[in-house]
């Protein structure tokens, strides 16, 4: 058990040491996961909203496929992107394999279904009145839909935090397409795997703690953002 205590200690020491390599790894982790989150959000929120609101043949099927893809194993996502970006793959010429861009692409494959699926759910639970009120006040369709998204923001922020959690914690995909190259594609999670493989449990824990602290800070920022835009943060009173 002292390994865990030692892991905490090591985590703190690691942070205090300001080891340039660790800083670089941390920044790359951030860069990859946040880029992937951004792309997933930019694609996923509109897609989810569209699927929630537009009734067309095959809509249910697509929604179910998106829900299913929430269960896409990271290794599989990694493998698919690997095959596509590999020299023999259709996009081999782009020479993206083992670069941070490849890692972002693979993570978007994981993040997009999450954001789209959860956003769709959040929008679906909104009420017809919101849309009606908006268009009767002269809003264009687009603005009315944006208003529905605004009303659904709790659920959409939940979608983003969930996706961030998954992306920053994920190792299968980034390992596969990034290759865990020191100084280039090594991120926090692949470092953890490497350290456990080398039997350095407490260092692995230490890096894990850094990752969790990072996640905590980002979550706080996202939630702050949410708070800032809406003052009346009511909860149900249980009396």
């Amino acid at each position: 058990m002292d390994v865990i205590g030692q892991g905490v200690k090591e985590g703190i020491l690691l942070i205090l040491s300001l080891d340039p390599e660790l800083i670089q790894v941390t920044l790359l982790s951030l860069q990859v996961s946040l880029s992937a989150l951004l792309v997933s959000g930019l694609l996923g929120i509109p897609a989810g909203t569209f699927l929630a609101l537009k009734d067309f043949a095959g809509r249910k099927l697509i929604l179910n496929i998106i829900y299913t893809l929430m269960g896409l194993p990271p290794v599989l996502a990694g493998l698919i992107v690997f095959l596509v970006l590999s020299n023999r793959g259709p996009l081999g010429e782009w020479q993206l394999l083992f670069t941070p861009s490849a890692m972002v692409i693979a993570q978007v494959l994981l993040g997009f279904p999450l954001v789209a699926g959860l956003s769709a759910r959040a929008v679906m639970s909104q009420r017809q009145e919101a849309y009606d009120t908006a268009v009767m006040l002269g809003a264009t369709r687009t603005i009315a839909i944006l208003s529905i998204i605004r009303e659904a923001r709790m659920g959409i922020i939940a979608a983003l935090t969930t996706a961030l959690g998954r992306l920053i914690a994920e190792v299968g995909a980034v390992m596969m397409v990034g290759g865990n190259i020191q100084g280039k594609t090594r991120v926090l999670t692949t470092s953890i795997v490497l350290e456990t493989r080398m039997g350095h449990d407490s260092r692995a824990l230490g890096i894990g703690i850094i990752l969790l602290i990072l996640a905590f800070i980002i979550m706080l920022l996202i939630l702050k953002l949410e708070k800032r835009s809406f003052k009346d943060d009511s909860t149900i009173q249980i009396i």
Binding site: S86, N87, R88, G92, F98, N180, R197, G199, H200, R203
Partner: protein, 267 residues
């Protein structure tokens, strides 16, 4: 307890000329990375030649399929039969021996199969199978796994049963599991020495010729993939079989474990 992280050597003075394509991708087995060997020797290569090496550490099988698809420029692997096949199929060129280390069978101090101290691998595993003592197999078609299978073949045994655990993992992880399960396993000396401080398993059988483990370096075929960095691969091969590098390899691990982890054998 904690293994020192080998600091990358800073080469002072003369700067090497930057090659045309300085990016070189090396696909290798996890053992060369996990043992720390690459961290020690690669900085010398980069300083001398100006190449930047990107190390992808995977199983021997995956490393070779990466070579096959042109996603790596040069391979450092240990799986002799597969390597020859690889060359024969035209995926690679310029194979050279680099070094070897050896395997040993490790197991719990209690030694339920009673094999401790021997140097006959076949006899040892026969005893393990007869006493149905826990045995862990890498089970991942890695060089180590293939070696293990060849020993079973030599013993004429088809291992199966509750005692035989095929875990499908890398060496470091298998070592960890064997320690937890207090079972026997076949392990390469480099990984064993690098991690033995963490675990309680003891060497049981070593020194059998069957347990010899050669590493080879192969350049990926430039004819198949004109856009790979063949020039860099050649430089890497020349460097790793050079006398100076071979000496570096021979030194590696001596200060920490009192013995070399890899024995250089380039001709």
């Amino acid at each position: 307890q904690q293994q020192e992280e080998p600091a990358p050597q800073q080469q002072a003075g003369d700067k090497a000329p930057t090659p045309e394509d300085p990016q070189l991708t090396l696909a290798t087995t996890t053992s060369t990375q996990d043992s720390g060997l690459l961290d020690v020797i690669l900085p010398d290569f980069e300083a001398k030649t100006g190449y930047q090496v990107e190390v992808i550490a995977v199983g021997s099988g995956a490393a070779m399929s990466m070579g096959e698809s042109g996603d790596a420029d040069v391979l450092l692997v240990h799986s002799r039969a597969a390597e020859d096949e690889f060359i024969a199929a035209g995926h690679g060129v310029d194979r050279h021996d680099v070094m070897y280390n050896d395997f040993l069978i490790i197991g719990p101090a209690a030694d339920p199969a009673g094999i401790k101290g021997g140097n006959d691998a076949v006899a040892a595993i026969t005893q393990i199978s007869e006493s149905e003592a826990i045995f862990l197999s890498r089970g991942d078609e890695s060089g180590t796994h293939k070696k293990e299978l060849s020993i079973w073949r030599a013993a004429g045994i088809e291992p199966s049963g509750d005692w035989y655990n095929s875990v499908g993992k890398g060496m470091g992880d298998t070592y960890r599991m064997a320690d937890e399960m207090q079972g026997y396993t076949l392990i390469d000396r480099a990984t064993y020495l690098a991690n033995k401080g963490n675990y309680s398993l003891e060497p049981m059988v070593e020194g059998d010729e069957l347990l010899f483990n050669p590493y080879g370096v192969i350049a990926v075929s430039p004819e198949k993939y004109p856009n790979i960095n063949y020039e860099g691969a050649t430089a890497f091969i020349q460097w790793i079989i050079s006398d100076e590098t071979q000496a570096l390899i021979a030194e590696f691990g001596k200060d920490q474990y009192g013995q070399s982890l890899f024995i250089p054998d380039a001709k």
